[in-house]
Structure formats: structure tokens, C-alpha cells
């Protein structure tokens, strides 16, 4: 997946997790938590969804890497580069 595809995929997952949030204005370099009503269970759901969709393993100590869109995409890029987008 390209960086743009990974971003799209994350937006897709966020849509499921926070159906009431408007994601069109999401700023990539600002923490998710400052823009969206996400709690730690929501981040866990992102991790579980990524594992389900792409079998990527994100160890617990790396959960902090999912703080913003920019960091998430940067973190996932090497893990997903050989993976095709499914949805």
C-alpha cells in the first residue's frame, strides 16, 4: 500500500469506530485525541481492525505511534508496503 492508501484505510477504520465524527477536516499532524472523541478502547479497536484486515501485529509498546494520522501512516508504511488494499 502507498502512503495515500494507508491513510484512506485508516479513515475507513475511523468511520466504523466513530460513525458520528466528521473526518473530512482531519488534520494529519494534530493528535487524533485533540480532534476526535477517541478513548483508549478506540485505539485498541484500530489495532484489532488492522490485525484483522492485514495481519499486522502492533505490539502494545507501540500503541503510542498511533497518536496522529501522520505518525500512524509513517509507522505502518514499512509494515504494509507489500500488502494490497483489501476494501
Amino acid at each position: 500500500m502507498t502512503l495515500a492508501e494507508i491513510r484512506e484505510e485508516i479513515i475507513d477504520i475511523l468511520h466504523d469506530i466513530a460513525p458520528d465524527e466528521d473526518l473530512s477536516e482531519l488534520k494529519d499532524d494534530v493528535d487524533f485525541r485533540e480532534q476526535l472523541e477517541l478513548d483508549s478502547m478506540d485505539f485498541l479497536d484500530i489495532v484489532m481492525e488492522l490485525r484483522k484486515r492485514h495481519r499486522v501485529q502492533i505490539p502494545e509498546e507501540d500503541y503510542g505511534e498511533l497518536a496522529s494520522m501522520h505518525r500512524t501512516v509513517t509507522y505502518l508504511e514499512p509494515l504494509l508496503k507489500d500488502v494490497a488494499r483489501v476494501s
Partner: protein, 486 residues
């Protein structure tokens, strides 16, 4: 021949979940939905653990632990269970306090508490805002050195009345005290303050029934009257569980049984580090409870103005030891109206709860125990007169539960109502490092208890199980690839 409750069971599963409390149920459901084969074994004759109920002649149904939970339950039930379950969660708007310091009614949310604290308790609005923001920002990995007492002293020095308003309900909700880490108070308090107190329409029986339906739909095999006797370990890896005398092989075990009995009894200490065993033995349990269940005659009604939840006390000050004492001065009453079960038979019930020490009840002779139970009922009927005059004459049924009752039905060490103190969380989390494939999910660390905490912890642990099992699969398919390449 006795009935075989394991009839038709497979000889092997991906996961065996021991215990059907809300954490066990939710963990099993999450893993079943993810495609694993899951066996859920429960020693009692009903699913639900502490989330339970019982029926008495005359159409009365008593709920044990349905007094209120935070709004977060809606989201968790929608995501990890079903829309139907989530849509049945409704607010309890009438929360009352009555003690020698104050009597008031509130919706128990930030807005209403801000009003009360500034207008009635005459606190500076800026202090109140700062307090709310501070507790809301607390995380479970934050500083644990600050106690709840220190937190209150910082924001509201000398204000015993304010401390009582802020603390008493949370002590009832999770057994936490002024001496526990402030974050275990702050996280739970903030969860409630976000929108108030909620309940499940239709009662615990309906909730567990709906959960059971969803479990089966997701391929989980739930079995009641199945006692897990032993968790089998070979070379640091879980291999199976012995249930009702039968061996069932598995790659992963999630124990929803009490943390201490899981580690110290079900596993066997020879499979664990000495240090870990010591750490487990040192984990403190939360207190137990007593309850008195009162059912009104079928044509008797309680006026709605009596409220949904009433925190009542005759103690001059709020003190943890007074809350636990056999000499009861504080009681929480839950009033159930026909609207609790809109499609059931219209009934009014009251459940009076107190926090209690197991040791105060455990050593009694059977006559003394029966006499103490009778006394508990009697003193409760006297105390409740203030709110419901002549209740005694309007009752169809009354009975009591003690710490021994809770222990009997859930096998919790000392009948603990809300799991362990804070240190139990770290022990629960590190169990898989001791034995590969072995997990614990259940009330621990104060913050992972209560209906919401237990459900969320079930999901957190399911994530760990899924990570482990899918890693094993990836690894073995890697090996398969290697083999074919060669």
C-alpha cells in the same frame, strides 16, 4: 447417571474461557466473532457471574448488580455485542443523597455537580473546573503515589462534605477508598460524570439472555455447570483445561475466575516464578457486600419521587472503615419500578446494599450466621422507614445476601465484589509472560471492575489472545512456506 454438561463438546478448541462474568462473556464473544473456536465454561447454573438475578414467587425478579453504570456501556455494547443490547441502555435521572451533612437530588453528571458544588457548597467555579479537568485527564499508567485523600486535600482542603459527595458513590461503585491511588477514583468518577448513571431496560436476565444469543451466533459454545478444575501447562505453555474431570485441549486459556485463585490454585505454582507467586499472594482484594432484597406486594407502588438510587448514611463523617463495619450506618438503596421490566409483570422492588468485610461473616457458627442475617434484614427495614413508611407491611418477600453468598455463587476469594486493588492489574496483565497462552480477564485494579470495566477488559484481553494466536498462525505458515521453498 448424573447429566453430562459437557455432552457433545469437542476435544480441542482454539480458546477455552473459564467463567462467564461480563469480562469472560465479552472476551469469548470477541474471539468467537474473530473466527476462533471458543469453549466457555461456567461452574454456576447461570451465565453472568455477578451480573445476575433471581426470581421469587409472585413475579418478583431481583437484580444483584444492576444499580448503575456509566454511559460508556452504550458504546461498548454496540461495538462488542449488539445494537439491541446498546439500545436498551437508559439513564437513571434521580440520584439522591441523604446524610447528616446534606440531602440533595442530582442527575450525577458534570453539569449538575458543577451547579451543586458552586451554588450549594459555595466553591469557586475555577476550582471545580480544574478538579473536573484534572480527574478527566487521568490515565491508568499515571502516577500512583497520589492517594484519593491527597487529591481531595489539594482541591478541597478541609471540606469533608465535598469529599463525601464526590467519594461516597464511587466507594459503593468499586470499593475504592481514600487510601487507594487517586487515579483509580478519578477514572471511574469521570466515567460517571460524563453523562450520568445508566441502567439496562429489561433487567439483567434480559441482558444475559441477549448476550447468550449473540455468543451462540458467533460460534461460542457456552456451558453451564462446568467447573474448571485445572489449567494444564507443559513447558511453559498452556495445553488444556480439566473441566468436570475431562481434559479439553486448547492453545489459549482465558480465566475470568478470581485472579488469585486462577494463579495460585488453577495453574499450580510449580509452573510459575517464585517472585510472581509472591507478587500474586500480596495482591489485596476489594471488599465484599451485603444486600437486602425487598419485594412489594403486587398492587403496592413506590412513588417515583423516591428516586432511582439513594446514598443514605447516618454517620456524621464519611469514613471507609465505617462503610465496611458490621455496625451499618450507610446503605445504598436501589428502587426498581415497573419500568425496569416494561414487558414483565409490573412490580416494585428495593435492594439495599452495603460494603462489607468477609471476615466479619466467615467465622460465625450457623446459628450466629442465621441470626446475623436476620438482624441485617431487621435493621434495614427500620432504616428504610424514613423513606418508605410502613414498608414492612407492604412487602411480599424479603431476604438477605452476605459475603458468603457472593463467594458461594462466584467462587471469588473472600466474596470480593469488585475484584482486586490496583496492584492486581499488573499481575493480571503479566500472566501471559509467565505461561504462554494463559490470560486473565476479570475485575482487577479497581478500574477494570464494574460492568463497563469488566466488558472493556474482556476486549483488551481478547486482543492479546488474538495477537498471540494469529502470530502463531503466521509463524507456522512461514514455516510452511519455507518448507515448500526448500
Amino acid at each position: 447417571m448424573p447429566r453430562d454438561f459437557l455432552q457433545g463438546v469437542q476435544s480441542e478448541y482454539d480458546v477455552v474461557v473459564i467463567g462467564s462474568g461480563l469480562a469472560g462473556l465479552t472476551c469469548a464473544n470477541t474471539l468467537g466473532r474473530a473466527g476462533y473456536s471458543v469453549l466457555l465454561v461456567e461452574q454456576h447454573y447461570k451465565l453472568g457471574g455477578m451480573a445476575t438475578w433471581f426470581k421469587r414467587p409472585g413475579g418478583h425478579i431481583f437484580d444483584i448488580s444492576l444499580h448503575g453504570f456509566p454511559v460508556g456501556m452504550i458504546k461498548s455494547c454496540r461495538r462488542y455485542w449488539t445494537r439491541e443490547i446498546a439500545d436498551s441502555i437508559i439513564q437513571l435521572k434521580n440520584i439522591r443523597f441523604d446524610n447528616p451533612m446534606f440531602s440533595l437530588t442530582t442527575t450525577f453528571d458534570r453539569e449538575d455537580f458543577t451547579r451543586l458544588l458552586t451554588e450549594r457548597f459555595q466553591l469557586e467555579p475555577s476550582t471545580v473546573h480544574e478538579f473536573f479537568d484534572h480527574v478527566r485527564s487521568m490515565n491508568f499508567y499515571d502516577d500512583q503515589a497520589t492517594t484519593t485523600r491527597q487529591l481531595f486535600d489539594r482541591f478541597f482542603p478541609g471540606r469533608e462534605d465535598v469529599i463525601r459527595l464526590l467519594m461516597e458513590p464511587i466507594t459503593y461503585a468499586n470499593g475504592s477508598t481514600l487510601e487507594d491511588p487517586a487515579l483509580s477514583y478519578g477514572i471511574v468518577f469521570s466515567n460517571f460524570m460524563s453523562k450520568g448513571v445508566f441502567t439496562f431496560e429489561g433487567g439483567t436476565d434480559r441482558l444475559i439472555g441477549l448476550m447468550q444469543k449473540d455468543l451462540v451466533k458467533n460460534g461460542v459454545d457456552p456451558r453451564i455447570r462446568c467447573n474448571a478444575e485445572n489449567i494444564m501447562v507443559h513447558r511453559g505453555q498452556v495445553t488444556g483445561v480439566q473441566v468436570n474431570g475431562r481434559m479439553i485441549r486448547t492453545r489459549a486459556v482465558v480465566s475470568n475466575a478470581n485472579l488469585k485463585s486462577t494463579i495460585l490454585n488453577l495453574v499450580g505454582q510449580e509452573h510459575l516464578d517464585r517472585g510472581f507467586v509472591n507478587e500474586t499472594s500480596a495482591v489485596r482484594l476489594n471488599n465484599s457486600s451485603t444486600q437486602v432484597y425487598m419485594a412489594l406486594k403486587e398492587d403496592e407502588r413506590i412513588d417515583e419521587s423516591t428516586g432511582d438510587l439513594l446514598f443514605s448514611s447516618t454517620a456524621p463523617l464519611f469514613r471507609t472503615d465505617a462503610l465496611l463495619s458490621r455496625d451499618v450506618t450507610s446503605r445504598t438503596y436501589s428502587f426498581y419500578y415497573p419500568r425496569t421490566r416494561p414487558t414483565g409483570r409490573p412490580r416494585c422492588l428495593v435492594v439495599s446494599s452495603t460494603n462489607a468485610n468477609y471476615s466479619d461473616w466467615a467465622g460465625l457458627s450457623s446459628e450466629d450466621y442465621e441470626a446475623s442475617k436476620k438482624d441485617l434484614v431487621e435493621t434495614t427495614l427500620v432504616a428504610i422507614e424514613k423513606y418508605l413508611p410502613n414498608l414492612r407491611d407492604r412487602l411480599d418477600h424479603v431476604e438477605a445476601a452476605t459475603p458468603l453468598t457472593f463467594k458461594h455463587y462466584t467462587r471469588h476469594v473472600h466474596g470480593s465484589s469488585f475484584g482486586t486493588k490496583f496492584e492486581g492489574l499488573a499481575v493480571s496483565r503479566s500472566l501471559p509472560e509467565q505461561v504462554r497462552g494463559l490470560f486473565h480477564a476479570g475485575s482487577v485494579g479497581i478500574i477494570m471492575s464494574g460492568w463497563l470495566g469488566a466488558i472493556n477488559y474482556g476486549v483488551i484481553v481478547a486482543n492479546g489472545v488474538d495477537a498471540m494466536l494469529s502470530k502463531v498462525e503466521t509463524q507456522s505458515s512461514d514455516v510452511a512456506n519455507l518448507v515448500t521453498e526448500v
